[in-house]
């Protein structure tokens, strides 16, 4: 077939012009010779040929411009994060443009990665000095400078929260919704339960996880761990004896049997960095991060009362229904 857009356009215009000339010629012959004794029957064949040729021209044009419509669709997919690059082959005039676009996309992704690494290094680099400041505040407290100690500790806390929050956001914004991401909920949830039972080893908590083995989400593993980790950690922090995670009605549901959160505070804890209890460090911030991350992936987080007495957190995320490649299923 004709690979060049130019030749397609030329063919289209030749066809169109030919048809038009033929029609005009017939029209003029009719007008000049046969107008007094008009006989439509004799004109049928040439007129329909003329119309058919014109239609063929339009069809060729339509097909020639099809790659551009395809490109628009692909670009929308890239924008929504379902694709990273513009795939497929295009007419020779358009292909260099597509290649340039792909290079631009790759450069942009690299730049985002670089910015993210810088942000991460910056945040981690700040944490050790913050740890030092925190020790200094404790020293000030011991030597009787209670007010200085208190102020210092408060500011250290604020800075830490800011760093944690912005770091999580930056990470999510960079990866948020990238389409080929796929994360096994079962594996991640069990790894988190293992980790939490070590971290809360002193409390004899019962952490129950019931997640289907083949459940996958269109979410980066790091972000999924961050969301579920924060939810389970918050549940463990407040639970008296048991934390339960299960999957029902296409949502991940975390229950604890702790005191729960009063209804009027539930929306507030999802807002940026609100802490409902100053005594338990980091509470609320964790839930706010989950909320934000879920949002970025087009999911949602809801809080309500749990049947087991405490808080129930309902996390919805885009499910990945891409069939697993045979090789990995065999594993």
């Amino acid at each position: 077939m004709l690979r060049s857009l130019r030749s397609r356009l030329i063919l289209a215009s030749v066809l169109w012009t030919g048809g038009l000339l033929m029609a005009l010629h017939i029209f003029s012959m009719v007008a000049i010779h046969h107008l007094p004794r008009f006989r439509p029957g004799q004109l049928g064949v040439p007129v329909s040929i003329a119309i058919a040729v014109m239609c063929a021209g339009v069809v060729v044009l339509w097909f020639s411009l099809k790659p551009f419509r395809r490109l628009r669709g692909t670009l929308a997919a890239v924008r929504a994060g379902r694709d990273r690059q513009i795939a497929g082959s295009y007419p020779t005039e358009v292909q260099p443009l597509i290649d340039d676009l792909n290079t631009l996309l790759a450069d942009r992704e690299k730049a985002v990665q670089r910015a993210l690494t810088t942000a991460g290094d910056l945040a981690h680099g700040l944490k050790t000095p913050l740890a030092l400041l925190r020790q200094e505040s404790e020293r000030a407290e011991v030597s009787g400078h209670l007010e200085i100690a208190e102020n210092l500790a408060q500011q250290v806390d604020r800075m830490t929260r800011q760093i944690d929050y912005q770091l999580a956001r930056a990470r999510a914004a960079a990866s948020g919704g990238s389409g080929n991401a796929r994360c096994g909920a079962h594996e991640s949830a069990h790894a988190l339960a293992r980790t939490l039972s070590k971290l809360y080893a002193g409390r004899a908590l019962n952490i129950v996880v019931e997640i289907p083995a083949d459940l996958h989400f269109r979410v980066q593993r790091e972000d999924f761990d961050e969301m579920l980790g924060n939810l389970l950690d918050n549940a463990c922090k407040w639970a008296r004896t048991e934390v339960r995670l299960h999957y029902a009605e296409s949502a991940l549901i975390t229950d604890d049997d702790g005191p729960g959160i009063p209804e009027d505070l539930r929306t507030a804890v999802l807002a940026r960095g609100v802490r409902i209890d100053q005594a338990a460090p980091g509470t609320g911030l964790g839930l706010a991060i989950v909320h934000e991350l879920a949002d970025l992936y087009g999911g949602s987080l809801q809080l309500c009362a749990s049947p087991s007495g405490g808080l129930r957190a309902i996390l919805r995320l885009p499910v990945s229904d891409t069939p697993q490649p045979l090789g990995s299923r065999a594993k």
């Binding site: 740890a131 030092l132 020790q135 790894a191 293992r194 971290l199 080893a201 002193g202 961050e226 980790g229």
Partner: protein, 220 residues
Amino acid sequence: MVEDEALLSRQLAKGLSDGGYAVDCAAEGEQADVLVSTELYDTIVLDLGLPKIDGLSLLRRWRAAGLTTPILILTARGSWHEKVQGIDGGADDYMVKPFRIEELLARVRALIRRTSGFASPELQCAGLALNTATAHVSVEGLPIKLTSHEFRVLSYLMHRQGKIVSRSELIDHIYAQDADRDSNTVEVFIVRLRRKLGMPFIETVRGLGYRLRDPAQPGE
């Protein structure tokens, strides 16, 4: 304690020794590896972002070599993905910087207690009670005042009730590596402890070391 930031390392070491522990510090992985392979520690506090060998590789190497010492990761890396990697790598606890020194002490105490098989912070042997959280010691309910070294000796013996503890093992666990060690002082501590406790809880096993046991039970 493995921490590369010198100032933080000093402050932590001070906090931990104020809390009653003998602390050796390593500023990077190689040094930590040497210390861990030559000494027997009750617990290891490990930073992840270390020069040369990173903490996670060190942790995996130690666990692969069969090291069972409880390890607490103390790091700036606070994402859940990193926590999972740390715990799955063989760590027993994970703390994120910045932190309160009291919390670190509480977690170290709990870690040591759990590894010796005690669930509650109150260790008991007949009428003798030692609270690892409050550093409170009592015999038959009467409080007893101990110096920090005496407390360390008693606490170490209490964590290993009924087992023989050699004198050199005791020295290793009550003094930091670079401290001025004198094996005779252990005997002095034992004599003072026996006097303060009143009852013969601490028994000398000739040629082997010491053992803490219920004075009412006949010795072997």
